[in-house]
Symmetry: D2
């Protein structure tokens, strides 16, 4: 039997060792023959460095996998079984700009949330749609595992405007589940969180260990200490009264909505501190060190240092998803897929982040068994309105929808600010926004 | 045939001459026998002043209406056919506090929108529920015409938690329709605005003159000049790009959401200017002058000066509604009533502001003939979530829900601010919040 | 100001005197300049007879209306303001066949309900779509008032598959409202029936006289006597226990669903009685007498005898609708229009029969203020599934959908019978079903 | 660790050996300590016979399970972990009556579908609600696995009117999945059928083998031969044109709806043939033989002959479900549980039959990823209306709702027949219908 061909778009990413490790450790269940790593010309050097590390990793375990490094996307996609996207249009420099430009207006500057995430979406959507066109032509049965951010929004663009089979991935739910398992000292697989929401705006409606509802225990631990956080988000303490009133588990990104003022202040402080810089600027330093490390001919495993990078579990989750599809496992993963009635009050054709069965037929949401509480629905609906408008703006290059999208974002305080932000981001991203012609 | 008995709760209001005029000018279609004007002890003096003016007005036209001024609410309600509520718990002083306390946190201070409106709702709901209890006992078939603010929110409390027949009224839609008629120089009755939204958050989805869609013409005129505004809202200019992108008619209150920053700034300026003061403080001066005027034995008509007061058309609209019910007219008014599927994405048992047929059976929404555009739905859903939580908090005296309500309000920037606002408003309104025991 | 041009398709119908009378008696509110009556070649004689009567009627009252009789549909449609369709594809002969062929399988044979109605729909849809094509070209702003049967189903075809402005009309609700007014001896306009359902499957959820719920009184009178019936439906007595359990007002056509066995038996009896014949056959006799009458040069008014014909009020209702649109009356009529959420559990883009405001912008449903009771919803949903499938079959000429449509009809007892019925009706209507090519 | 206590209500059932075998073969994953088999006095002899066989089965494999036979339900329920209901109120005699009485009116006589199923539901609901009361008192955390028929309807009664944790089970989906696996010669676990519908009215929207859509292949095989049938349903051939037009997999019970005429005819033939009799009468003979067999002291395994009994896989499925819950397996079973938005157009609080994840938290439906086709929705909605009304009638003892329920059943041709059926079934089941007082 023929093995699988995997195409990794954005192969030069520093995450690549994790994804390669993911395939190697699942060798028995996942018969991979070929991995094509594709990148753009500007990324060639990084592709070579990380690609060679990947080759050493494969060699070390004696796996029979052909690894191809290429700049030719079509060659990579041809007959692929799975396509993984982990690229970043404009690289970390663009992200650094995304993080800085809104601060001028006292608005959150963040990679995926707020105007920064909007800018990233506008840059990413045209590239993804282009890849989808290639997929329809070169590997129409392939599954696209997207973990390019903002993952929910761009997955909505794909699922609404193409018919490529796609699942959007995020590492936040996995992190939360792992943290709960650690905090309660129970096996990861015994923890079940009723996730409901949107990408980077997902709540744990209830947390269970088997048939025990442990939500309140987890909330108290959340208030106690340094838990349930992401590397890339400042660990601002939660307000106890609020968390108890809410009675649901927020995700780390909720800080941007629930503590907007403090979070923006913290961001500005860090951005203005020459020893710190925005998160992207910090990551650039980490990346530099990582790639130095990757160059070492002696290194033939995924280095520990990668975990500091912030996207931990992402790539491994992608491989785990691929295995669930390939082996028709029907086990539960939390992914981004079409709503189709799962959350009442969100359109059927919109993407949500929710627990799904993953098997040969892709992602199938499991029921939330009731409506979502008012406490979280309004914010979710407001952000989803932003996402729908942003998706349409990004796909069609519609500036009116772009303005409406930003104005609808709960973190943008007024139409005037929305307009100013839009002006700046169009300026800063000129070369990456072909869809908005004649800027 | 026996004529009608009308009970006006908050009879000492400065609006009273308008409501009396409303009855007098509809004498032929609306056979009113008795008007009971009831107020609380603190309002006795004003009740006497305005009540005597009302008596002179009735006398002047020779109408056969018995006018009773009383402090006994039960006497007023006994066998009433229509109950009109126009009281203000805590009076203009409470409103002035509502307008000031949020400014400390750079949050909008406004009578009906934001934390001020929340405070007003918390004060008003227990009184209204009490009135409803009396109605069930003393005049179970009476219609309650509520124009106590925040009209939508408190009407939701009545319709969700009692079975009194109630319609919530607001003068904003009437104003908008009148302004459009004036601006286009067409008869008022030829203008049809597809109103959709919530009280003080209502959009004109489309504006028609008979079968002509004049939305864009109206929007351009809105951008041009000093139109479509309310006396009590600063007439901040609309952003043309935004209004054209939106393609729908905002209501004057939308400024608080679309130009939050500028509006708060303006409010702070006015509040800090000893010659101006907040709107309530200005109204106090107007009221004082009005009541001086009302005292004059020579006055026996509604004085022109009342129109400056800000609530113009309110009372007349109430009487017009009463006539539509009494005469089973089935003509179209824009009122606050249960959604019941009219706006998809808003709960069935929530109150919306929408065009309704008004007749013997009360208010029946007319279809919006399709779903609302994403452009406005997200904000509407966010505010509705606030309203649902606020209603529950106000009815049950639930402090957790109160915190969640304020946190869910789009104009409250963070949980910390919500908590501080809540603390302040509980302090400031202690004597008016019996439902929140043990504050 | 230019007056209106009316195009009547099927001008040779025996109803024509009623529609002409309708225009004449509304001369003051409805300035009609021209009426074009168009028919097909086979109908020329009848067109001439009834057209000449119409001319005498116009002359009699001295109205300034130009009446044109023509076989040229395009001439009639050119710049028309309103188009009224009252034709019958295949004439009464086709209807007689529709009424007979299902009886062979012990299935209801009826003009609009069951397999007969299905056959009629299949014949009618292609002609209507053709007319709509002409309308888009020759009078794109015209309103199409359809009272060709099955009115709901063919209106669904128009509203789903064209963008012609169309309202579907039926005389059943008017009849019911008139009968209730008579039975209670109150003015017609004081009766309000909460109509909900589909064409010829409409229930009165509640019956009101002003603000009094008189449903139970009306139901008892329904059980008592010879009321609330149509000329063309056998007046089978209702079962008292059932009617009281239902607690809602059925329409006369409900007998076909609630007393299927007896109604089929009665139909078979009548059909086999050489002195009676099916309803169409009886109507043919009536029509013959009517046209004899129409020929009389002395006749210059609508003759009393027309009322026996069965479609009374239909044409007058059409003119009343035209006046409501032209004069932007926004009064309430019960018509067939898109659901758009009015009835929960029926698709948004399906046609329902419901109370609507009729004005310049056409028909706008008024809310049912809550969900429909289970007692009637299941049957309504089953029949609507039939209608959706039948519409699709009729528009696309899809034989599979045709089979599924008939099988889904609650009056068709099995797939085998559906197949046999389909076979027969294709045979009988060969010449009228261009969309089902290659039968 | 303490093992599990199982309570089997209706322990004297001939199915008991299968359920015991189910526990024995899962001994490693399911640590059962005690099985209490409870029955009523009339069933004591059967309970003893089958109970002793069960004891021999346990002994044979040397399992450490205490088996208690008792007439004291409270003793059985006390601290039980799982409760399985497999009783039949009125026994096979009542079923035989259910099968016969509708035939008089040419209406289907069947155990679970139509008036027979209605009668069974009316007898069963009061007993189940009584058991639920005991469960709340004696073992409030226990799971109730119901496979008493009509399984969907009575599970709706439990889930709507009690708060007992309950899953309704049926062997039809398992049968269909097994048959498809056999017919395609693939492993059972590779077959995935998109089940959607109600109990005994469930369709396979699509059939998959891993990621291959094999629906059409399966449909052709269904047309070819003697497959996809149940022991207790006459294997009437499907109409090929219809099945191809439908494009979905019907369940065996669909014959009653799609071939009503032939099925009733066949039933009457069998019922009138003294050598055959209705299904219940045949089963009585089988049961008699089975119990003779069970008496044999040499028998210590489940006898092959039980498979002829018709309910094969039922009991095993119940044990498999118990294991999935106990071990938090989250694997997919097709069960009866609350809809909660899974099927659009069916109320949220109604029970549907659908693929669910089964784990510690019970049954969670997996999304159907889109709306159901019109082709099947209408019938499903009609039957669901019947079920909702029947549930209410059965719980409240409401005769009006009972009449409306039967009238709403698609297999009951008229109100008159509904009334006659109701009369007969009340007569025949007098002693079992305590809720309908004063019959």
């Amino acid at each position: 039997m023929k093995g699988l061909k995997i195409a990794v778009i954005g192969g030069g990413s520093s995450y690549t060792p994790e994804i390669v490790e993911g395939f190697l450790k699942r060798a028995e269940e996942l018969p991979v023959d070929e991995i094509y790593m594709v990148d753009i010309k500007e990324g060639q050097e990084k592709l070579n460095i990380v690609g060679n590390l990947a080759k050493r990793m494969i060699e070390k375990v004696g796996a029979n996998i052909k690894l191809v490094l290429t700049l030719d996307r079509k060659e990579a996609l041809k007959n692929a079984d799975f396509v993984v996207t982990q690229f970043r249009v404009g690289g970390l420099n663009a992200r650094a700009r995304d993080e800085r430009f809104p601060l001028k207006y006292d608005v959150l500057g963040q990679e995926t949330t707020g105007p920064g995430g909007f800018a990233k979406a506008m840059r990413t959507i045209p590239v993804l749609l282009d890849i989808c066109k290639d997929i329809k032509e070169l590997c129409p049965n392939a599954w696209l595992i997207n973990f390019t951010n903002p993952s929910g929004l761009v997955t909505e663009a794909i699922l609404k405007y193409t018919n490529v089979k796609c699942i959007g991935l995020c590492n936040v739910p996995i992190h939360m589940q792992m943290d709960v398992a650690n905090m309660l000292d129970v096996p990861y697989k015994d923890v079940f969180i009723e996730f409901a929401g949107l990408n980077h705006l997902v709540w744990g409606k209830k947390v269970w260990v088997k048939d025990q509802d442990v939500t309140n225990i987890v909330l108290e631990k959340l208030l106690d200490g340094d838990v349930l956080n992401m590397k890339n988000i400042y660990n601002m303490k939660w307000n106890p009264e609020f968390i108890r009133a809410l009675g649901m588990l927020p995700c780390p990104y909720h800080r941007y909505y629930y503590m907007t003022d403090k979070m923006v202040e913290e961001e500005k402080e860090v951005a203005n501190d020459p020893n710190k810089g925005t998160r992207a600027e910090q990551v650039q330093a980490i990346e530099k060190r990582l790639f130095e490390l990757y160059k070492s001919k002696d290194l033939n495993v995924k280095p520990k240092e990668l975990e500091k990078r912030g996207g931990a579990y992402y790539s491994d989750a992608a491989v785990s998803l691929i295995s669930a599809i390939y082996n028709d496992k029907n086990d539960i993963h939390t992914v981004n897929t079409l709503n189709n009635g799962t959350i009442k009050g969100i359109p059927d054709d919109s993407v949500i982040e929710v627990n799904c069965i993953i098997g040969s037929r892709g992602a199938t949401p499991i029921s939330l068994r009731g409506e979502l509480p008012t406490e979280i629905l309004g914010l979710m609906q407001a952000v989803k309105s932003y996402e729908i408008l942003a998706t349409e703006a990004g796909v069609k290059g519609d500036k009116k929808k772009a303005l409406l999208a930003l104005q609808n974002h709960p973190l943008v305080p007024s139409v005037d600010v929305a307009k100013a932000l839009l002006h700046d981001l169009f300026e800063l991203n000129k070369e990456y926004l072909p869809q908005f012609k004649g800027l």
